[in-house]
Symmetry: C2
Subunit: 450 residues, 2 copies
Amino acid sequence: MGKQQRIKAALLGLGTVGAGVVKTLMQNGTLIKERTGYEIEIPYILVRNPLKQRAVSVSRETIVTNPETFLTDGEVSLVIEVMGGVEPAREIILRSLQAGKHVVTANKELLAKHGAELFKAAHDSGVQLLFEASVAGGIPVIRTLQGYMTANRVHEITGILNGTSNYILTQMERDGLSFAEALRQAQQLGYAEADPASDVEGYDTAYKLAILTNLAHDINLPIEQMTVRGISRIDLQDLQSARQFGYVIKLLGRSRQTGNGISFTVGPHLLPLSHPLAEIHDAFNAVTISGDVVGDLTLIGKGAGEFPTASAVVEDVTALLRHTGHVLRQPVWDEAGTDHRSDSVTKTHYLRLQSSTQEHDFVDRLIARIAENNGAEILHKKRIVNQTQAIMSYIIQGLSMEQMEHSITEMRQENPVFETKGVLPVWEAADHPETNTPHDGLQPYEAAVG
Amino acid sequence: MGKQQRIKAALLGLGTVGAGVVKTLMQNGTLIKERTGYEIEIPYILVRNPLKQRAVSVSRETIVTNPETFLTDGEVSLVIEVMGGVEPAREIILRSLQAGKHVVTANKELLAKHGAELFKAAHDSGVQLLFEASVAGGIPVIRTLQGYMTANRVHEITGILNGTSNYILTQMERDGLSFAEALRQAQQLGYAEADPASDVEGYDTAYKLAILTNLAHDINLPIEQMTVRGISRIDLQDLQSARQFGYVIKLLGRSRQTGNGISFTVGPHLLPLSHPLAEIHDAFNAVTISGDVVGDLTLIGKGAGEFPTASAVVEDVTALLRHTGHVLRQPVWDEAGTDHRSDSVTKTHYLRLQSSTQEHDFVDRLIARIAENNGAEILHKKRIVNQTQAIMSYIIQGLSMEQMEHSITEMRQENPVFETKGVLPVWEAADHPETNTPHDGLQPYEAAVG
């Protein structure tokens, strides 16, 4: 940042988060100056539509629609991107980095898809690209992985990373709403977008999981090859059965170090009620990171919204102001990468079936036969029979998702007496060492016996 | 750290944490070198008794008993202190800092009592004093306060900071043990020291709360003026009554920004079952930090033990290696300070009384009269009468701890028919703003109407 006591930044986007950034700088600007020595000035705010009414009052002459204005201004040393989407954000960030400007971004989709290219550009120009706000809002999970866990090998990351989906699942379970009703409520409260697909179909979670996993393992997960499941087909009956079996349904992103590489999965899971993430309700986010030395760390906070996200953006800016060197470990998102598989690894699954009221005993015997034929075990089962149909739920241990789906399909072809309404993985503790094992590479210290 | 690719460190102490540090450096030394560029060498390990058997094998010639050995060695640029206690740790750290060596310490008592002096010495010598391991083991709570929350004003810190006490309370409630039985079990498992006073009487929590509060508010809490309460007088009946009323009892450290300054309290509290910290069991630690922009952040992990603490120590070392400038915001522990009071602020309390089997109705009327006279309200009450005595529990809202104790004492002097067995504060949400309010200091942006 040189020796200047004032830094000029361009802000890209003045939506919810952009307005939060402006308000935070107004309200806590004096505090930031006291603690970093710098005053932050924003002479450029890039917007698409300069006529749109904004949630914050800003000086009229700062509003621009052409990125050339700040790209060519050598006094602007920092670009804050909160506009979202891949283009034109990608191109403007790339050109900013190439022009020697630091960049702070909240853009998860862009980083998940083009992170490697952007980090390389930052590295080549000797500037920094910070992105705390891209995952889990105000929760310092990027800091923890990139700035803290350097002497730790990460075994596993499990997160509730989408507040909208978590809000919907919480409302469904708490108030007995259908998915559609809970979604409508989330939209009315401003928690869900008019087009909620990215949130409820799991893409948002997949982007965030990719960023965390890439950081933890220095790889570059192929986001387009990820199997991503969402919550739109979760039925209230699934939540109720899960609860009776001792579980809650959460949309999880999870990646694990396995013997062969990294496995990763995004989708709704049954999580045991005793798991720390089972208690994360409403629009909160939470991430559990397991390291080989530190054990399990869980971080909980607001994962979205104007101020939590603005906090992460502005704290990236204060980190830049406080440091002359590199704030965080340089990300190495290797294009080649380790072997990584989109695979949940779990061998326990929840299954919901529907049949006529006459045939549920027969269907129950079919499921018992599937379990028996595969050496699997039925841990829980439940049956609700009303006047028109029978609903059966099971938790079956000992079959992979593929085996499960294959066996069910086969059985149904022979005996078309039931419909499969849902198959969900059940979260299982991973089989990895919790702590170090002693190592005897050095000469033994023998004073006690010598 | 200069341009050397190898750094020489002195390790003070080779107990549980010291052995964990040595094992971590052995096991993950290659990882650390890959990620920081530095190899860490430990040519000096200071111990009191060189004949004692150690939990790790180290080279015999590294063991020293005289600090002059490394204090006078100009090649040693880092001192790692994990010996504990105030002296001689204070003097050795002070001389190390004065000699231009960076220091990483896990010593909470030392920092709580002499932090201001040590930070000044570090500042004067242009070196760093890092202390992540001093609070909550492997949980990056110092990083979060000192390295992350720069643009945030901290409203409140609430933590379960002592794993031993939390383990004891968990065992009492889960298995119906008395305090003494649960303590004995904790000692057998190595969770509690032979002399458990610092853990169970709240001093350890007080040291850690002081460090967090000083960091958050740039003050210097007078540790000797803190009112500190422990858990040794908690009865199984208190835990059972609390549970029936919808609470769990936790040893909390809590500090809050109030209108007048900072208030702080250390002691057992009744915490609502819905509070995120209510689910923290066994030897886990957890801290909730409330910031004006980010909202509530909760961090959970293992707060003690060989590897979690070693992780925090070694990650401070990796932070030093990665940065040429200052890793974290310079602590300013102002000697003068704001007004700060040892005060729980809460107006809701739990009360347990004992009387003869004949007089419990009369006692119940006395308590009702206390509430009425003070405009307070009895939220919950419970009575257990057996053949020899009656036990009455209440939750009363509307009286400070002082008013409560005063009224009860006065009532008992007039009517000596009951004994006070316990008064505990009930955790209440603080009355502080969750988010920013908009500020209109800048010219309004009027494009929408212009």
